[in-house]
Subunit: 264 residues, 2 copies
């Protein structure tokens, strides 16, 4: 039996922080055919609120160290403000959105990160995604909008990277659906030259990725992102694209962004 | 056919602002037999956050005037912080909670309040409750935890009084369920003497309510609360009790609080 198709889109700060781009993206997202799930990050709003409340922020290897005050801010901004504003806007576009975080309905169970030397604070590494719940919501015509928070089942909310949430959801649902995973980010795709938007690589396979890494043409924060993308493909996700989420239609059609492929 | 029973509980600031009392309440709530829905207010946290962010608050007739900055705070605190913390805690108590606001799944549709002289700001008066959605969630074993926010369907979130949300949900579901509505508040029930907790009126019927109002023994903020309670009974809610939510079991059994009755 042919699987139904499902699109999982992750958007980050570059879209969330820009009202106009968010509106363009949401219109494209609402117009997608078939089932879809939106996973969002938090953007600058959390950082700004932390500043206003005089809560110092510590970033380590691109991950926010989540002390109790920072978690409160994440829950307010990701789970509240950003999530509910997106939900309200999607309804206006005819998309019946349901805004949730990983604690809601026991959607994403996680444990506090264990690390030999660094205490990441209230950061959660994902143990399980409640696919039955997502499946039911999708079947009921609801579009889940997921904030990057998880919980440990013992009363503790945890901060979890939005890329990871999107990847875990995509993987978990790939048993039941043919999943298209779109990682929205600030560049038009994976670039050969980070300063030249025209150097976009249309298709990146595992072999080419190894080459570019060894030539140090792909470095830094792009590596965990791409590792995640390849891992998703290996775990059953049908298609992974990285690019600018406001060009969603073009990303869906392979006319923009970088298509990640196991074999070229 | 006998209707299934459903308990709708509204809790306010007196419980939400006190960790110990909240824990006692949530344990009682999680142990309730049958279907249940929790509606929560925001408590002092929103007021404190507004102070920290230097957003001046205007209260008019007990209602917060909701300007754009105040709405942002309400969405962060009610829709995010308070909602998700309660949800995480309920899971630890074995209750599969689903935290939502009125925008989620188009649960509570409202319009911006129209008033000849006062602009209440982003305050919503309820037009419709999506009972089919609540019915489905309850049937799936989910316990909705509802933040006091609604939306207008055109992209605007609105602030709506938690008592009103509880009442509207209870009324809307009374077609399908035998609904028990518990209004938690700071006193042990309706008191004859507001300074004497022992002066609790165990049963208040419509006739007695009229008498006590005319004798000015019931005044102020208690009047809209009781008007709502009587309205709920007239619109099909089976049972309405007002009392301290941490004594939930006693309120359920008629051993505490004030039972509101149309006829004595």
């Amino acid at each position: 039996m042919k699987k139904l198709s499902l699109t999982v889109v992750k958007i980050g700060g570059n879209i969330i922080d820009d009202e106009d781009r968010l509106e363009v993206f949401l219109a494209g997202f609402a117009a997608l055919p078939g089932a879809r799930i939106l996973v969002h990050g938090g953007g600058k709003i959390a950082t700004q609120l932390a500043e206003q409340l005089h809560v110092p922020q510590q970033i380590l290897d691109g991950r926010r160290i989540t002390d109790s005050e920072t978690l409160r801010i994440a829950v307010m901004v990701y789970g509240g403000l950003v999530n509910k504003q997106i939900v309200a806007q999607l309804h206006a576009l005819g998309c019946t959105a349901l805004g949730v975080c990983g604690a809601d309905g026991d959607l994403i169970r996680a444990h506090k990160r264990r690390h030999p030397s660094i205490d990441y604070g209230w950061v959660g590494d994902v143990d399980a995604v409640n696919t039955a719940l997502l499946d039911r919501w999708i079947g009921q015509g609801l579009t889940p909008v997921v904030a990057p928070l998880s919980h440990d089942g013992a009363g503790q909310l945890l901060n979890t990277n939005a890329d990871t949430i999107a990847q875990e959801i995509a993987q978990a649902l790939s048993m039941a659906f043919s999943v298209n995973l779109i990682f929205g980010f600030e560049k038009s795709g994976v670039l050969l030259d980070i300063h030249d938007e025209k150097s976009r690589i249309p298709v990146l396979d595992a072999e080419k990725y190894r080459q570019l890494k060894s030539q140090q043409l792909i470095t830094g924060g792009m590596i965990p992102k791409l590792d995640n993308a390849f891992a998703a493909l290996r775990k059953g996700v049908s298609r992974v694209v990285i690019g600018q989420a406001e060009h969603l239609q073009a990303l869906m059609e392979g006319k923009n962004g970088t298509l990640i492929a196991l074999n070229g």
